[in-house]
Amino acid sequence: MIVQLWAKFRNSLASWGIWLVFGLILVLPLVGLSEHYISLLTLSAVLALAVLGIDLLMGYTGLLSLGQAGFMAIGAYTSAILTVRYGVGAIPALIAAQAITLVTAVFIGKAVLRLKGYHLAIATLAFSVIMEQLLVNLRNLTGGPSGLAGVPSLSVGQISVTGGQSLFYLCMFAVMVAIFLLKNLTNCRVGRAWQAIAGDELAAATLSINTDNFKLLAFVISACLAAFSGSLYAHYMHFIAPEMVGMQASLNLVVMTALGGAGTLWGPLLGVVLLTFLPDFIAYLQNFQLIINGLVLLISIVFFPGGLAGLLTYLYNMIVERLFGRKEYLNGGGTKNEASSPVN
């Protein structure tokens, strides 16, 4: 009886837990969290959108893309250029950014998705570098290496989201909507098709899944999320420069995703928050920051291929086992890492 109740509770916890955490974060400003931390949380939320896009590619569809910041750049710069240089409103600019991203992503996706593994990684990384170079060199449009300053605050009609709490709530809302939509999507036919492609592309194809189309779909959605993140980023910083959305940023986004644990929607969010807050918490160790970042990543990826999400799931299962004296796994029958294919 208790076990059954527990099982029920656990299942609902698994599906509602993430909203519970969001709820807790949402009340933080009300109980007096400092501006500084609110700002960091807002930044995490902005980056989380791009990271969710990578997770969709890397965790669900099994495609390693190192070019995500290239799409962030399209979003950020379209928003910045239209609002700063042409006085377009933030929302129309954001929509224009999405449209441009959509078209670009379809073209780039069609070109690079024929590639696999390392080739796909280098091709997408090349896209990111090309974007960065274009931003540096098209000075008249982008302001060159010194970037574009004076990006206005986000405004909807007459209501301006000037920053602080309002921007925080807006970005949190955006992330929650993204999570909601992605959660639904990954739990239906479309998401299963992606996971099937990640598992075994040929097998997926022999089950009627048009793998080219589904890979392109994931790529485009991922790009649009990144561009959205980029637009918000420009408005959040009021400033945008090439290296903020360059190759290094692409790599950082992948690091956040992998560190958090690709293939779960909540894991990568942990990665974002950790890598956004870590530099702040260990500011006095500034000189060691790169080393610490690298070590954290190395240890988590080597020893917990599931990232932080994998580690937490493991600990959770262990505690459940201790408390209730029985094996109980969220997915039944062992951890995911044990799965391996037989050869004979």
Binding site: N184, R192, A196, A198, G199, S208, G333
Partner: protein, 256 residues
Amino acid sequence: MKQALLSINDVSKKFGGLQAVDEVSLQVQKGQIKALVGPNGAGKTTLFNLITGAHLSDQGTIAFSGKDITGSPPHKVNEYGMARTFQILRLFNKLTALENVKVGCHRWTKVGLVHGCLRTSVVRREEKIITEKSMECLERVGLADSAHKLAGNLPLGKRKLLEVARALASDPELLLLDEPAAGLNDKETDELLHRIWAIRDSGVTVLIIEHNMNLVMRLSDEVAVLNYGRKIADGKPAEIQNNPEVISAYLGTGVS
């Protein structure tokens, strides 16, 4: 003579210097169980790959239900109504058994991006049907109680059956099984025999590659034998058993 469900005409495939399939013609009639046998390396799996579009043939045509499907990509072949299993298993190991079978339902389900994102009632209805259908397919192969285990963690016998269930979920007219009994013990093999019969009785035509001749002889209506990429015999099981060419292909020519 009635039209064959699957009709292969003079199909050939060469890999480098190796003629893997050499001008093979083969018919599968609707409603029968046909077996494809032959020693290792005889080209049976290659033939499967040619039929299902995993490889392109060098020459020859393949027709399914009277329609020329030569050169169709794998996802089209499944849409036309053929589903297959693999000799070296290709399950989605990180998904549960049930989820694996649900992927198999892709062929006849429709939900797209918008509905999927919003989880509308259309999605919920379809998911309900998918889940029911998938559970039914798992039951048909006797895997209902493993539904929530990860595919990668199931023992070999169950994994083989899971691939069959996944293929069945796409509601195929023709099911291609690549060595389903390899690695099974006698009891499991016997069980498999009955399950394949049941699948045939439900209206699905079966083309099966199998090494276990004992199983093949009991199971199939017709047997075709490949050796060195060529078809050397095709007919009723009893005829095949007494065909001298087949015996020598199997037992080997005497070397003393």
